[in-house]
Amino acid sequence: MGRIAAAESTARLEEGGPTLADGGDARLEQADLELIRRARQGDPQAIETIVRNYQSFVYRTAYGILQNAADAEDATQEAFIRAFRSLGRLREDRTFPTWLARIAVRISLDMVQAKARRAQDPTEEIHGSVAGGEDAASLRIDLERALAKLSPEHRTVIVLRAFHGLEYDEIAEVLEIPIGTVRSRLHHARMQLRMYLSGERGDS
């Protein structure tokens, strides 16, 4: 179901393919459009299938931004609920993946803000659970710590690009920002992440 749904299985880095912005037609197949149409009428089976197809995408987006499993679960659930409740307002069914991504990002960023207002340190929980250990696990911990130090906006572009492999124009569409901003935000986010990671691991 398009790049967003397929993102989890995509092995990529420098990989081409159609974009959300200009290749929308090829992106969602007829069966997917039919699912969306049925979901709009409140068909529970269609809704279940859509959630199943997109839950990894939404959850990973939320986790990347929120850095916490419980919050990411709440954000995922909330994003789907909001999406299905306002599905009637979605004009072009083909834009569903971008639209859903936008909702997920917005909810996650709102939750980050709400958390910041309650003055909680997102890195706390991560720090608490570290006990050295295997390479993969410690790399993951390093990544989480470094990501947590980025601003939510920087985390968001990293998540959309690195987690899901969205193209720049797709990210621009999801975040509703100019493509030039995506470009510079991504650059700064990556350089900062690199800086924090080299600090964590003591390499260059």
Binding site: E8, A11, R12, L13, E14, G16, G42, P44, I47, E48, V51, R52, Q55, S56, V58, Y59, R60, Y63, G64, A72, E73, T76, Q77, F80, I81, F84, R85, L139, R140, L143, I158, V159, R161, A162, F163, H164, G165, Y168, R183, L186, H187, R190, M191, L193, R194, L197, S198, D203, S204
Partner: protein, 169 residues
């Protein structure tokens, strides 16, 4: 040759294949001779790979579809209990409609009997304090009231049960 200050801001775009051919050639020429920028590019690439493989380990809870359906009031249990309520009220309406139809059909003698019966019940109910001799009517009225209460309680129980029971898995 380009300086590091010139190339560094282009690395992100370069790794994403977002540069034009000229800029790409410039960056590559620089990377060929500058170990520092080459290391940085490699490190950025491996960060990206690490992020991708980390993202793959993140999985949404398996019951997410159920949670969403529940929150939307569309879970199978809720749909079932709603259906049960529909069936109950539909049969109630059907019953009333049947009685009314029977009553409004002048040809049906059964209907007339029914009408007389219903009228008798109503009259008996009104005349209850004075019509002590019609005890059977009182019994009948009481019986139907009990039946009504029982059926309503049963419906409520059934609704609560279907909501609580795990029908989904």
């Amino acid at each position: 040759m380009q300086s590091c200050e010139f190339v560094e801001p282009m690395l992100s775009d370069y790794l994403d294949g977002q540069l034009g051919t000229d800029d790409e050639a410039r960056v590559e020429a620089h990377l060929a001779v500058c170990a520092r920028c080459r290391n940085l590019a490699d490190a950025l690439r491996s960060d990206e790979r690490a992020l991708v493989s980390w993202a793959r380990t993140l999985t949404a809870p398996a019951d997410m579809p159920l949670r969403v359906l529940k929150a939307l009031g569309l879970s199978r249990q809720e749909v079932q209990s709603r259906r049960l309520a529909y069936v109950y009220f539909a049969s109630l309406a059907l019953g009333v409609a049947l009685v009314l139809a029977a009553v409004s059909l002048p040809v049906a003698s059964a209907a007339t009997i029914l009408l007389h019966f219903a009228l008798a019940v109503v009259r008996a109910l009104f005349a209850l304090p004075w019509a002590v001799h019609a005890e059977w009517l009182v019994v009948l009225g009481g019986f139907s009231l009990v039946m009504l209460v029982l059926s309503l309680t049963g419906l409520r129980r059934a609704l609560r049960w279907t909501r609580r029971g795990v029908v989904w898995r």
